[in-house]
Every structure is written in C-alpha cells, then in structure tokens.
C-alpha cells in the first residue's frame, strides 16, 4: 500500500462523500429506513417473544442486531449505483485513462459506503435503546456488533459494485439486489430465532452471511458472550468480504476490457 494509493483512495472517498452530502434525501432515507423497520417490526412482531421456545424475553433486544444487519445489507445492495452513473456520464472513462489505480476507485467508494453504514448502525443502536432494547454486552459488545455489520457491509457493497460493473445497468442492479436481499433476510435469523424456523430454512440460514453477522451481534450484545462464535463467524465474514472485494476489482478490469 503505497502513499500514492492511499492519497488516491482518500480522494475517491472524499468525492463520494461530498456527492452523498449534496444529495441529502439519499442520506435521509438511509437513516429513516432502519428506524421505520425497527419500530414497525418491533411492534408488529412483539408477541413473537411470548411464543414457547423463543428463548429471549424481549423482542426489541432480539430484533436490534437483526435490523442492524438488514440495514447494512439493503444499504450495501445499492452501493453500485454510483458506478453506473459514472459509466453513463463519462466520469469512469476519464478515471480509467488517468494514472489512478483501479483498486483505489473501488476501495475509495467502498470506504464511503462503509462510513454511511457505520452511521446507520449507530442510529439503529440508538433508536433501539430508546425503544427499550437492553445492551447487556456493554460498549465492547456494541463495538463488536458494529464491526460485524461493517464486515457484512463490505461484502455486500463489493457485491453490488461488481454486479454494477458487470451489468452496467441500473435496472439489472435493482433486480439482482431485490432477488438476493429479500430472501436473504427471511432465510436468516434476523427476525426469528433459528429454533422457530422450519428445518430447511434453519439449514439454509446456517450458510447465510446475514445469519453469521446477526449471531456475532446477538452474542456480543448479550450478558454472556460466546467469543468462539464471534471469532469463527468474523473469520467467515472477513473471508467472504475479501473474496467479493477482490472480485469487484476484477470486475473493474472486466468492465474496461469490454470497452
């Protein structure tokens, strides 16, 4: 990692950050959406906690980690749209004919997306606390949960970027995101404990990165943290994020080869 690479990447991050700030409705939606989910799911499904076998006595406390991860998942799925705008406008062509590293273009945008996800995560935790969730794991637990959300976000932002660079079409990106994100939510333990899921969903959920992230956050935020669970799931998430990030840089090169 040379200083040139860091300068380039930070400039790219800066550019996307300014773009984001100048589209305040986008940021507003990014913040309001998880709040609505939290309050909506929290109220609609609150009686789930009384079902025998639920395992926790407070649905809001159970729900916060799930909403945290859902938020970054949905947010991440849109991350690639900026690249499609750049391809259509000609900004991408100018970037690719300048000496900038391709990986800086991808990494710089990823960092900005992760910053948004981090802010969203803080909001979810804050609103959850106001809504009555209890964070027995203390500050460390919250940090671990946020870190897990960023690993998940890195994987999904990169996935979205790769799809955007390969499909180069807003509609395709929206379609693919919808097809992946909604089922991923319900085939996980984000909203329902594994014990209440049908057997086949339990099986699928085990392999769902969303479940891994939710499990990390739930145990980290509970009074008795299962650190080996945190370690293994973090490792899996990190490996996934690394693979998908590598793929998104490859996708940038594939895009260029198609020109």
């Amino acid at each position: 990692m040379s200083t040139t690479w860091i300068t380039e990447t930070s400039q790219v991050t800066r550019r996307w950050t300014i773009d984001g700030i100048r589209q305040p409705w986008g940021l507003g939606v990014a913040i309001i959406q998880p709040v609505i989910w939290l309050l909506l799911f929290g109220n609609v499904f609150s009686s789930v906690a009384t079902v025998p076998g639920f395992g926790a006595d407070d649905y809001m406390t159970f729900l916060v980690p799930g909403i945290l991860m859902m938020t970054v998942l949905y947010s991440g799925a849109w991350a690639g749209t900026g690249f499609i705008d750049d391809i259509n406008s000609g900004v991408m062509d100018r970037m690719l004919t300048s000496p900038v590293h391709r990986s800086s273009l991808v990494a710089g945008q990823l960092v900005q997306q992760l910053a948004i996800c981090f802010v969203q995560g803080l909001c979810v935790l804050g609103i959850g606390w106001l809504a009555g969730a209890s964070y027995e794991g203390g500050p460390l637990g919250l940090l671990v949960a946020l870190a897990a959300s960023l690993l998940l976000a890195a994987a999904f932002c990169s996935l979205s970027a790769a799809v955007a660079l390969l499909a180069r079409d807003q509609t395709a990106l929206i379609g693919i995101s919808t097809i992946i994100v909604l089922p991923a939510t319900f085939l996980s333990t984000a909203l329902m404990p594994a014990s209440l899921l049908p057997a086949w969903v339990q099986t699928v959920a085990q392999y769902n990165p969303l479940t891994w992230a939710v499990e990390i956050a739930r145990t980290a935020m509970s009074p008795s943290v299962d650190w080996s669970l945190v370690a293994t799931r973090s490792l899996w998430l990190a490996a996934l994020a690394a693979v998908v990030a590598w793929w998104s840089v490859r996708a940038m090169r594939t895009y260029q080869r198609s020109l």
């Binding site: 040139t4 300068t7 380039e8 400039q11 790219v12 800066r14 550019r15 300014i18 773009d19 100048r22 589209q23 259509n88 406008s89 000609g90 900004v91 062509d93 100018r94 970037m95 690719l96 004919t97 300048s98 000496p99 900038v100 260029q256 080869r257 020109l259």
Partner: protein, 335 residues
Amino acid sequence: MPCDTAVDALDLVKTYPGGRGRPDVRALDGLTLTIPAGTVHGLLGPNGAGKSTTTKVLTTLSRATSGSARVAGHDVVDEAAAVRRAIGYVSQGTGADPLLTPRENLVMAARLRGLSRSASADRASTLVDRFGLTEFADRGAAKLSGGTRRKLDVALGLVGTPSVLFLDEPTTGLDPEARSAMWAEIRRLAGEDELTVVLTTHYLEEADRLADGLTIVDRGRVVAAGSPESLKATLSGDTLSVELVEPDADLVRSIASDVALLRDVSVHVEGPTGRLVARTSDGPAAVGAVIAALQAAGIRHGAVGVSRPTLDDVYLAHAGRSWTSSDAAAKELAR
C-alpha cells in the same frame, strides 16, 4: 517527454462480440496512423467509422484485438501507466462529476494525478482562469450550459499537463456560438509548446478549420490521410453535382458516364431524392452538357451546381460513398 511522433499506431484491429449468434463487429480493421508531435490532428469519419474506438485504444481505455500503438513514446499495453501520465482524454460524455463544482472537479483530478494539495489548488485556479470559468467555478457542474461544461471537460483533460490531448467529438451537441468558442480554445491549445491535440469529429468544417493533419476513417480503416489542403488538392478540377428526383441510379450513371467532360461519376439515392456527383475540369461547359444529356433521356432533375473540391468530395472519392449519406447530421455543416 517530448518525442517527434506523438502517436504511432500500426494495424489496429478491434472486434466486439456480436452476441446472440451474430457475427463479431469489426470496429477497427487494420488501422495505421502516425501523428507528428505538436500538431492538431483530426480523425474524421461518419458515426460508427471507428474514430472513438481508435481514441479508446490510444488512451488505454480499450485494448486492441491485434496491432500495436505507441503514444508519447510508450506502448499503450505494456506501458499503459506511462501513457496515462502523458495524456489527457476528453470523452464524448462529460468527465465532470455533476455534484461537484468545476473547481472541486479540477482539484480532485489534480490530486488524483499526485499533485499536492496546494499545487492542485493552483492548477485548478490556472485552468479556471484560462478557460474563463471564473464566474462558474464554485457552482454545481450540473447547472453549467453545454458550452461551459465542455470547456470544463477540456480543462479536466489538461489537469495533468499532458503532452497528447485526446478530444472525442468536442463540439457535438453544442450550439454554433459555443462551437466557435471551442474552436478558438482548441486553436489556442495548439499554439502551446509540445502539445499534440488528437481530435475526432464528424464535422467536415471542424476538421477543415482546425486540423494540421487529417486521417479520414471509414469502416475501421484509414481511407485517406494528409493536410486538408493536400487532400483537397488530390482532386483536380471542380465538383459537379445535380439534385435528382426519384432517380433510376443505373440509368443516370450510364447517361452521365457518356458525357465526355465528366469523370468519377457516382449517383447516391436517399429515399425519393438523389444526387449525381462527378468531377470535371471544365465546370461551366459540363453543366450545359449534363443538363442536355439528362433532359434528352427525360430524367427529372433539380439544382445543378459546380464547386471547388471540399472534404466531402475527398471523402466521397476515397470512401466510395457520400458523406451526407453516411452521416446526415453533418449535412448542414458540410457545405
């Protein structure tokens, strides 16, 4: 780094997959091109001729299927990074982020080229002044008029102080006033030391006015190259053209070919109208002769004209079809 040849491309071929069982599209079909340093060079051709593809290969954006090219002394594939440091590229789209101001765009482009924060701010200010962008410099780029935005695009291309600047259709979509302002800008650039400008255009007038050297491209190949004057000089005599109404192309061709004063006869049909074009060394006499011959055969015709050779005629002579039929968009400018 100065060197005598800014661009040296040899036998470039670029094919794109046709998709769904269709044959591959051959965008470049053995294009060879040499551009001396310090000149304005026009790549002229109708839409789809391969001009933009050539530019993309030379700017390292795209990779040729075969053939090789050196820009500013560096190989576009093996030394792509060196090429990128030596060039500026202004694509057909905009290169500017619409949410940033012109100044922010320029500063960021400079920072991405490794200039320090203060050097980047200076470079941006210099370019803002030079392109008369002062009053727009700190407003959103999205709100700029077409001509001003295009100036910003060119300014962005110059941020890295390139030795070769590629301009892909710099005036397409601009109104006449903005176009002549852009021409003045390009001429000014051309006066600067060491800068080579490679410009693609499908406007014959633009090429004629701006370019020191021209390469006429058609269907992915070079059909003619030289200065605008020398290209026109290769066509001796005048151009005679006759507007035709619902012509029988073969009949008109055979009648015109029998007129002794005419040579290089061609007939172009577009919908209900057509045009007979031929070269002649005696314009006034040829007009009378061709009218008499057409009327004798009962062929309806419109205006008959004689003119000095234009680039349109050069294109026709080399590409075997008329510019206007290849590119209707250039019609009103191509007189």
